[in-house]
Amino acid sequence: MAPPYMGILHSAFWTLIFSMPVFIVRRLMQSVLVLCFMSLLVFVGVYAIGNPVDILINPQADQADIERAIAALGLDKPLWQQYLIFLKQALAGDLGKSFAYNIPAIQLILERMPATLELALAATGMAVFLGIPLGLWAGLKPDSWPGKLIMTGSILGFSLPTFWVGLMLIMLFAVELGWLPSNGRGPTTELLGIPVSFLSWEGVRHLILPATNLALFKLSLIIRLTRAGTREALLQDYVKFARAKGLSSTRVVGVHVLKNIMIPIVTVIGLEFGSVIAFAIVTESIFAWPGMGKLIIDSINVLDRPVIVAYLLIIVSLFILINLAVDIVYSLLDPRVRISEAKG
């Protein structure tokens, strides 16, 4: 048998190269099932709530016009037929046109996606760059008053509802103090063909309040995770041994403790990114942020079924991608995973 260390490089390599496709295929098959089920739910749900035509078409229009419109949208056929047609077209890559905007639903969503992704990334970035240092502090000095304050803050962040915090932020910083805008995205700049806010000062000002609002819950989560991880790591022998080697406390905390607690933190940040995007619906509605979340709320209001289905498809795909990325990063961070996967 080859000595185990010969396998270090190999195992990481093989794991990434060979186990990923299997894994991707399995995930994909699961997600296709989820999608079929969800699209069916949307079809039945929209059908049960009402007729899109009633909302979309001018009630003053004459009967012939209305019937032509219904036929054009494919809504004259029985529900099961509509669903089969949808499935057939979906397999060919066509998710249909938005009833309201009359452009492909996917295109509509993709146009709104950068705004949501930017908001979600900004919020996650805030949660990470504030949450990890604060959590470390609270973990290293749990009995100091800043440590206690941080924990109290994180309890508030957990328990206050997002929409309420959003309204309070608007009242304080936009209405009372007038420091920050609370409405819309502001001017955008093109970066590699994608419109972004963060490159202009005015854009950043528009981003601050909604990103803070969206970040609050994740920030609390990361603070608690980091604090718990730090407190646990500090009790471990490897920390005592690191100190016994005469390392500075900066190195003990910054390398020995942090590298260990990064494993669960990165996993949770990654897995939660999907839910940040999903939660953006509330924040986008409050701050009139022109992203996918606001689009989906508007689409539900007018029963714009193709957009709702396409939104779900995009969200599910994002979740798959995120999970995949998390798995890869996880195996890079934790050497023990690489080996056990190579063996197993």
Binding site: P4, Y5, I8, D237, Y238, F241, K245, R251, H256, P335
Partner: protein
């Protein structure tokens, strides 16, 4: 005897808990010279590790060294500023812990963990540090050290991991190594190898060694001197031969009796009756008196260390005499 490497005088380490004060180390004094091995023996909870941590300045709150002197080469470590003490740790005094599965950081490569130990104390290039790390691994008997440097701890067996920890302790050629039960978690063959190598090392390099264990049989073949600890205090001190052949303290006697030996094959092992007392608000008087066959009214007072035999010390009002042991 020559000047000792480490001299501990009247060391007291207490834990200030909500329930009260725990006197984990109480009035402990000993010294160990260059190339000498001192065995620190005692039951679980007797304060052996805390003695080691106190010397290293690694006692965590609510614990604190409250009194005593810790003289390393004549300088009292308790008077050092935190950063000066950091420079002593891992450089002049190294410590090895019990569980080799836990002491190495699982997510850092062995070379990282070795290089940082060197660079914490000397301005050495990475390449030079790597070379020293490799030599240290070779010295503790790790095969193909060059390749093993880039491995992670989980890729080593328990015995090999403990060798890595020992190699790390050796990196900066310390004056003193405190080994806190480093072989307890290992199987007997590996334990034997490591004991042999450590002994050789102490002798050859002139490193002073404090070997903490609860296992008298480990000490017997290894140490020069023994300190027996009970409830935070040293109750007996002497050379290995003296203490093991003719213990003065009833507790030491009980410990020796509870070790299986060939001479007493077939006889039931004699356990010391009772349990270690809680160190929390320990009542005055000899801490061993509830378990001691020789206890009498006098033992309600604190016994002081006395020296009934030249070169030996015992903390007991009624030490065993030669005839009583036989």
């Amino acid at each position: 005897m020559t000047e000792s490497t480490l001299r501990v005088e009247n060391l007291r380490t207490h834990f200030f808990t909500r329930q009260g004060v725990v006197k984990a180390v109480e009035d402990v004094s000993f010294s160990v010279g260059a190339g000498r091995i001192l065995g620190l023996v005692g039951e679980s909870g007797s304060g052996k590790s805390m003695t080691g941590y106190s010397i290293m300045g690694l006692v965590d709150p609510p614990g604190r060294v409250v009194a005593g002197r810790i003289l390393l080469g004549g300088k009292d470590l308790r008077t050092l500023a935190p950063d000066e003490m950091r420079k002593v740790r891992g450089n002049r005094i190294a410590m090895i812990f019990q569980d080799p599965m836990m002491t190495l950081n699982p997510v850092l490569r062995v070379d990282t963990q070795m290089i940082e130990a060197i660079q914490a104390h000397a301005d050495v290039s990475r390449a030079a540090a790597l070379e020293r790390a490799r030599d240290a691994l070779a010295r503790v008997g790790i095969p193909s050290p060059q390749e093993r440097l880039s491995a992670y701890p989980h890729q080593f067996s328990g015995g090999m991991r403990q060798r890595v920890a020992i190699a790390i302790a050796l990196l900066n050629k310390p004056d003193l190594i405190i080994a806190d039960e480093p072989t307890t978690a290992l199987d007997v063959t590996i334990q034997g190898q490591i004991l042999f190598e450590m002994q050789k090392l102490a002798r050859e390099s002139g490193t002073a060694l404090i070997w903490i264990t609860h296992d008298l049989s480990v000490i017997a073949g290894l140490a020069d001197e023994i300190c027996v600890m009970y409830a935070g205090r040293i109750v007996e001190h002497g050379s290995v031969d003296q203490v093991l052949d003719a213990p003065l303290h009833p507790y030491t006697h009980g410990l020796i009796d509870s070790v299986p030996s060939r001479g007493r094959r077939g006889e039931p092992l004699r356990q010391i009756p009772g349990m270690t007392p809680s160190l929390l608000d320990l009542a005055p008087g000899c801490a061993f008196r509830d378990r001691c066959a020789r206890a009498d009214g006098a033992c309600a007072e604190d016994p002081a260390l006395s020296s009934p035999v030249a070169g030996r010390q015992v903390r007991c009002f009624h030490p065993l005499t030669q005839s009583a042991v036989a």
